[in-house]
């Protein structure tokens, strides 16, 4: 077992992890942050996307020990003071989710993408999110939601 310290959604957490423990399981099963979902076992689907030191990563592809000393933001840490993050609101306003399973990862990927590409074209949005799969929406309204946030200049 290894002892690590991670700052998750602003709070410092110390935990004992097996060296093979994936970050996503540390978040879900040790810290109880079950908003981050697991959709595959090949880093294909992006459902488990979180921010690691400000960058979006698939938390099924990061070992918990690699996150030692890092800052992690999960879907639970996105809303502030009870107000939805603009991307969360845009997903709801644009019906960019149905079953909701890919949604936390999709929102985390989209917020990170917009920070790097503040004024994207539709094509750039689609390629920017290509590591995240959704089976319900056909992506149409996800693209609209990201465009809405970009257009609002948030």
């Amino acid at each position: 077992m290894r002892r690590i310290a991670i700052t998750v959604n602003g709070a410092r957490e110390e935990l004992e992890v097996e060296p093979r423990q994936l970050l996503v399981y540390a978040l879900r099963e040790q810290l109880g942050l079950t908003g981050t979902n697991i959709g595959c076992d090949t880093s294909s689907c992006g459902a488990c996307t979180v921010h690691l030191d400000g960058q979006s990563v698939k938390s099924c592809t990061v070992l918990a020990v690699q996150a030692d000393g890092c800052e992690v933001t999960t879907i639970e840490g996105l809303a502030t003071d009870g107000a939805l993050h603009p991307m969360q609101q845009a997903f709801r306003d644009n019906h960019a989710l149905q079953c909701g399973y890919c949604t936390p990862g999709m929102i985390m990927a989209a917020t990170s993408f917009l920070e790097e590409h503040p004024n994207p074209s539709e094509d750039e949005i689609r390629h920017g999110l290509e590591g995240n799969l959704c089976r319900c929406t056909g992506y149409h309204n996800i693209v609209k939601a990201v465009q809405a946030v970009a257009g609002a200049g948030v």
Partner: protein, 794 residues
Amino acid sequence: MATVERPAKFVGTSQLRKEDPELVTGQGGYVDNVTLPGMLWVGIVRSPFAHARIGSIDVSKVLELEGVVAAYTGADLEFAAPLVMAWPINAEVKNPPHHPLTKDKARYVGDPVAVVVAESRAIAKDALELVEVDWEPLPAVTDIKAALEPGAPIVHEEFGTNDAGSWIMERDSPAPTRGRAAPFFDDPNLVKVKEEYYLARLIPNAMEPRGVVVDPNVAMGEYTVITATQIPHILRTTLAITCGIPEAKLRVVAPDVGGGFGSKLEAYPEDAICLALAQKLNRPVKWIEERSENYVATLHGREMVQEIELAATREGDLKAVRVNLKASMGAYMRLITPGIPMLGAWLYHGCYECEGYDFQYTNVFTNATFTDAYRGAGRPEATYAIERAMDALARELEMDPVELRRRNFIATDKFPNYTIASGLTVDSADYHGTLDKCLEVLDYEGIRAEQRSRRERGERKLLGVGFSTWIEMCGLAPSRVLAALNYIAGGWDAATIEFMPTGTVRVLTGVSPHGQGSATAFAQVVADQLGLDYDDIDVLHGDTGMVPFGMDTYGSRGVSVGGVALFKAGEKIIAKARTLAAHELECAETDLEFEDGNFTVKGTDRTANIKALGFNSWTAHNLPDGMEPGLTATHLYDPPNFSWPNGAHCCVVEVDQDTGAVEIVRYIAVDDCGVQLNPMLVQGQVHGGVAQGIAEALYEEAIYDEEGNLTTGTMTNYLVPGPPEIPSFEIHDRVTPSPTNPLGVKGIGEAGTIAAPPAVINSVVDALAHLGVRNIERPATPERVWRAIQEAQA
């Protein structure tokens, strides 16, 4: 026709979803989020062989591993009965026993043979590696036609054949067809086309894999099963049978479920295994499917060989359609496997008139994962065959495919309630109007001109345009029809409306949505009907311990069966409230008008509000003699007919002659699902359905090698399309209210998946038709397209 009594305030508007706040903030309650005190983890040992006899299974090394609690084989985990198959289509059907853990041999890669139970997820996974199975591999067969050849490996030896029985419309359908097709194919004056299509096997890929948690109370013999399912009610019954536990002692909960598409419309081995383990060990157990496990353990869809023949006059009048299918069952008959092709049986002549119609299918066992309902279930297959064949006929007749369709459409003035050639009665439609709208949006002449111009200029990127003027039958289903089709259960559904003392309302529904947004749509219906605020209404579903016995969610039945049950419960609420209002206002019931939640004595300002009546029902201080306390009503609704949505879809593609790459340039959908309770939800269903249809046409295919290994066994090589592979959509509608139900609604959940594949493939073939290309197997990968071009030009 739609008889909503008063102007709608909420129905027809795009209310934002009630479901969303928890889902966008990571507070969704999916099964993998459930942790119970003392909970154990379950791992399933699966066959690595497609076909192998099981010698012995040794679990002794597993039990030595620290943290392992138990391990069982099929010989020592007992069940009261095999898994339930609910659709024995006729006397011919072959239904081998499907034990949750196979005992004698494995029949597909992934067949469960043993189970381990451990203190943690990781230990359970480690333990799987330590189970030693003495395998005797056998030759396997996964190809449908090869499975029917003499000498083929036999999946179930007791039958001596892989032929699992046929269903023949002339013999087995309860509804007479307009006439036999055969005589038309003997008529030398008619033009005939004969097409053969292979529909690739598909993997549903709900984003949430499956999972089960069972919480036992062994002393009381009571069990709560929390599972990612579309069918908590049906599953309770099938688990009761398989595990020998009375239904009253079983509570099945579908929590937030991360998509289904049919893949969670199933009675799976793992549900029964986990229930049996919790019973045996008297501890909560949890099994969560991994994605690669999902690819072999969760049902597959579609795979079939289709033969379709059309006979028409030289002028283009369709006279007869003849269809013969061979459908892959995979290794077992699951819940409704043998009946899936039948769900398309009445649809292979599409929305066209004809005089003769013959249809039959043969079910075939192979050494592959069992198939069952995948989004559309039988209807995408039918639509694909007829819409591809209509294009083939158009080419044969040198006619424009749009013109051929128009010429054969069932005329709009035949509706409502027109009996089509296959023998069933379609509720409402305007096929001409729907296609006209599609063409108007498309600028058909402009696209054809551009197509000609590119060909003349010798451009390497060719343009193609393809149509799918589709119909389907959904809203499953009238119980009497299901009886005639040998389906064991009914197709009704239930709803309860319950006023709380403070004026808020609980709606309890027997359908079990898992992403569709039914709670939102249902609240809109009740708000309008009872004159309530949308926010006063909470819709609860998916817990057999809480909601009335219903028939769950599949077959686009949520609104057209469950929603109508709800509307009828609302009528009972109004009737009871009216009686109480008349009592309080000391007038005759007939003197009362009900509007906006208020009963008013006609011509006066004396009024009673329904919320106040709800409170007074609850106190029961002053009720008419004999009236039951409480303002609550339940209705069980059995639909008198299916609902028959339809539409016109058009796909425009660019095909690169040099690489075979296909790019969708435009996708237009004009759909008629009757009255739309919430257009935003309708469009969302179309978007997702079309995306899955495009995936089916261009990307997805489950491939087995000759030994029966699934070579597309992970998400890295089974191509679920991502955002760049799917275009934006142009969505339009044409509304013909269904006369079948008082809301005027039809289903929309499967429409896109039914419509899209032939539109896409027709567009690809259209792009290459002048080169001599007539067919491209789906998915139309760049390699297949490129080869089709080379072969046509050779």
